[in-house]
Every structure is written in structure tokens, then in C-alpha cells.
């Protein structure tokens, strides 16, 4: 398989795309998002175990760096985000050239050396090591053996607690929130032009970082991603307060799978989960 840089160079030389959104090296065990506009710049593109960013975020209307067709370097999880954006009519398939990369897992944070122990928790339950939708496939990293499913275990632990203790746990976690909205800004699926948290007529969510407003904001953020979150965990990585947002997201993804047999971001033509209904949906909890 060719390298990412070779594919990008070819695309830019042939003028198929205006820019290639990918990763460039940025110091030991680090990469940064990099937008190559010329074949020369494409030489800087790399892919390794530290390519953490979900670059699908650059394809939303608010952030697209250039007009016209672009190529994007995408791991399996990033491709799911792209598909989700296509499902929601935010990105057109013909406007984007997907350079899929095989990915055997990434490190949990920038600067952390890669090992099985420091792998990002999301990689443990990843089924998309080879992207399932791409225009060209590039050489990436190799799959390693099974990784420990730490977030799944944590969810089970929390579910085993009595409700009052779960509430206390989350109230404590959310109390650290400073409402920087980094979770929202980094999320490729949070593509609303105006967020409900920014609206003030009516004011649903306290603007100040009060415990009450933090609780409401974090619940609403998680719920607005129900059936849409593809589990890239960029929100958690961006969070300066280390709130375990991925647990909420994964819990909702697990519910979507159990109740509706739905996995977000697998089929560009599939309807969205909460945009549709089924007459036989579960209702045993409704009196």
C-alpha cells in the first residue's frame, strides 16, 4: 500500500483536490492537523500512532478551509464521522476524497509513547481498523492483539452503583467543567450553526459555569449526540477538566445498539436514528 504523502501528492498534482487535510509531525510522539495545498507541502504528511485528531471536523461548513473538493486522511473512526456527516446531509460524498488509512490503534494522548497499555480506550472496541469507505487506502499502522476495554469496565462499575452515588459521581465530574465548549468545537458531529447553549431566548442552560448549568450542558451535549456519536472521543481528549465524556457517549451508543440495533456512521444512505421511528419500538417502560 502507498504512503499517505504519495497519495496526497498525486491528488494535488493531478488537480483532483484543492487541498489535503492530514497530519504532520510535531515533535516527539506528536502530530498536528496539517492542510497541504501544494504537492510540495504534501511531503510533510505523515500517519502514525500519534495521529489522534479526527480531521472530519474540518469538513463541516463552519471549518472547511478551502472551497471545492478536498481530500482528508481518515482512520476508521474518522471515516465513521464522515459517513455520519453524509447521513445528515452536511457533507456531499462527491465533494470529499477519502484517503483511508489502516489503523491498529492510537496513543491515548499527544506526547504519550505508544504501547498496548497507553492505547486510547476507544481502540479496544474498534471494529473499523480498516476503514469501510474510502477512495484510496494508505499504509497506516498494524493491528496489535486485543486491548483492554477500560471504558466498558468503567461503565459497568458505574452501573453497579446505587443511583444516588452515580449522581454524586457525575455531579463531581461536571463541577469541574469551565464551559469552554472545547468538547463541542472539536466534535465533527456538533455541526449546528447555532448551539442551544448559545441561545438566550429562552435561556435553557445557565451560561456561567454553575454546577447546575454544567450538569444541564453536559447532559444536553451527550443527548444531542445520541445515535450520532461515532466514539472518536475527541471531546474527552480536548476537555481541559478531564471529564470522562466518552463514558456518557459510549453508554448512549450501547443503548442505541441494544434497543435499536443501530451503529452510527456505518452507511451513508441509512436514515438517522432519532430522525426516524419504528412502530414496533420498545415501550415496556411506558405505563
Amino acid at each position: 500500500m502507498p504512503e499517505v504523502a504519495a497519495i496526497a501528492k498525486d491528488l494535488l498534482e493531478r488537480g483532483v483536490v484543492k487541498a489535503v487535510i492530514g497530519y504532520a509531525a510535531a515533535g516527539p510522539n506528536r502530530t498536528r492537523p496539517f492542510i497541504a495545498r501544494t504537492a510540495e507541502q504534501a511531503n510533510a504528511l505523515v500517519f502514525n500512532r500519534h495521529a489522534l485528531n479526527n480531521l472530519a471536523v474540518f469538513l463541516t461548513r463552519r471549518r472547511k478551509p478551502v472551497a471545492g473538493p478536498v481530500a482528508v486522511v481518515a482512520k476508521g473512526c474518522d471515516v465513521r464521522a464522515l459517513i455520519m456527516l453524509m447521513q445528515e446531509q452536511q457533507v456531499r460524498r462527491e465533494d470529499v476524497h477519502i484517503i483511508g488509512v489502516t489503523c491498529g490503534g492510537v496513543a491515548s494522548s499527544m506526547g504519550t509513547p505508544w504501547s498496548v497499555e497507553t492505547a486510547a480506550p476507544k481502540c479496544a472496541h474498534c471494529r473499523f481498523h480498516t476503514p469501510h469507505l474510502y477512495d484510496s487506502l494508505a499504509e497506516g499502522t498494524e493491528e496489535v492483539g486485543p486491548l483492554p476495554d477500560r471504558s466498558g469496565e468503567r461503565i459497568k462499575e458505574l452501573e453497579a452503583l446505587p443511583p444516588d452515588e452515580r449522581f454524586a459521581f457525575w455531579a463531581e465530574q461536571f463541577s469541574r467543567c469551565i464551559r469552554c465548549y472545547a468538547c463541542r468545537e472539536v466534535c465533527p458531529i456538533c455541526s449546528c450553526e447555532q448551539c442551544v447553549a448559545d441561545k438566550n431566548q429562552p435561556q435553557w442552560i445557565d451560561r456561567s459555569p454553575t454546577s447546575r448549568g454544567n450538569f444541564a450542558w453536559n447532559l444536553v451535549r451527550a443527548f444531542h449526540l445520541a445515535g450520532r456519536c461515532i466514539g472518536c472521543n475527541e471531546c474527552e481528549r480536548a476537555c481541559p477538566a478531564d471529564i470522562p465524556l466518552s463514558l456518557l457517549n459510549r453508554k448512549l451508543a450501547m443503548t442505541a445498539l441494544e434497543e435499536f440495533h443501530y451503529i452510527a456512521g456505518t452507511d451513508p444512505a441509512a436514515p438517522t436514528l432519532v430522525g426516524t421511528y419504528d412502530k414496533t419500538d420498545r415501550q415496556d417502560y411506558i405505563a
Binding site: 444516588d164 449522581f167 456561567s208 447546575r212 443527548f223 463514558l247 456518557l248 448512549l252 432519532v274 411506558i286
Partner: protein, 192 residues
């Protein structure tokens, strides 16, 4: 992050006080917010009233056009406003005035209640039901059960605690009263 003013307030939410038996005063009555659809449950509750059926008075009904109108934010807002329990009720499936509103709502509820349960707001506090316009008796049964469940669970002290822990402004309570330890107002600061 903790502000100095939060020190005393934090003790309110200390572990043993979240349990109903230690804080529930004898006079406590559960506060239930019921979001009901205009076409079925509201009319059903109205029927219960005109039929002179005995029902618990702790529920505050909020009439909405359709269950599909109920944003999960309504439910969060109800808890923020001091509700101990929430009931959401509308037309039976295939009976929606707008044909599909309750189908869409049902799907959202399944996801939303899983999320709320995960953060500790369990099914004793959040109830759902289908009550048609002719089911005055069923409305009475439902609201009686909701009140019983919430009463058994006790006041939602934990949510009130996070309501009180205001980070800003630090020296004013959520009732607008000045808190102990607030800096004294001087002539200069009063005119500043």
C-alpha cells in the same frame, strides 16, 4: 473548582444527607411536574376532574401540543426548578393527533432515560405513560403511582444541592439573599 462560599453549602450534599430518611421533614410533599399532551392526557386528566375522581394533588401539569414537542431540556429544567419527579404522558401509539409525534418521542425517551439513569436519575423519578382522552381512571392510577414512587424515593436533595452550588456570584444565594461572609458594603463600593 470550589469557591469559598461553597464550603458551607457542600455539607448539604454530604453523603448521608442525600438519603431520604435523614432529611425528609414530616411536612414534605413530593413535587411532580407532568408534561402532558393537549389531545390525550390533558383531556384525560380533565375527564378525571370532571368525573370527580380522587387524585393526588402533588402534580403540576404542563400542557404541550404533542409529546413530540417535549424537548429533553424540559425535563432537565423541571429538575432544575425543584421537581422531585417528572411524568411525561401522551397519546397511545397510532393515536397521535399529528400521526407520528409520539413515535418520534418514544425513540427519544428510550435514549434519554438511559442517559438519565446512567447519571443517577433513575426510573423512580422519571415516568412515562400513554393516557388517552377517555382514560380518566388510568390517569388517576398513573399519577397515584408516580406520587407513591417519588415519595418512597424522597426529596431530590442531590439536584437541589447542585442547584445551590452557584459559582457566580459567590456571595449571593440562589434566592438572591446575601450569604454570610460576604464583604461588607462600603459607601464607595455601593456607588461604584
Amino acid at each position: 473548582m470550589r469557591w469559598p462560599c461553597e464550603q458551607d453549602m457542600n455539607t448539604i450534599g454530604s453523603h448521608n444527607e442525600t438519603h431520604a430518611e435523614t432529611t425528609t421533614p414530616a411536612s414534605w410533599e413530593p413535587k411532580i411536574i407532568a408534561f402532558v399532551c393537549n389531545w390525550c392526557t390533558y383531556t384525560g386528566a380533565d375527564l378525571a376532574g370532571t368525573s370527580r375522581l380522587k387524585q393526588p394533588p402533588q402534580a403540576r401539569l404542563i400542557r404541550v401540543p404533542c409529546t413530540g414537542r417535549i424537548d429533553p431540556l424540559f425535563i432537565i429544567k423541571a429538575f432544575e426548578s425543584g421537581a422531585d419527579g417528572v411524568l411525561v404522558s401522551g397519546c397511545h401509539p397510532f393515536d397521535c393527533h399529528y400521526n407520528t409525534g409520539n413515535f418520534h418521542a418514544r425513540r427519544r425517551w428510550t435514549l434519554f432515560r438511559a442517559l438519565l439513569d446512567f447519571v443517577g436519575i433513575d426510573s423512580a423519578r422519571l415516568h412515562f405513560s400513554w393516557v388517552s382522552a377517555s382514560e380518566g381512571k388510568k390517569w388517576v392510577d398513573v399519577i397515584t403511582k408516580v406520587v407513591r414512587d417519588v415519595r418512597a424515593r424522597g426529596p431530590f436533595q442531590a439536584y437541589r444541592t447542585i442547584n445551590r452550588r452557584f459559582a457566580f456570584p459567590p456571595y449571593i444565594t440562589d434566592h438572591g439573599e446575601e450569604r454570610e461572609g460576604a464583604p461588607e458594603k462600603t459607601k464607595e463600593s455601593a456607588h461604584a
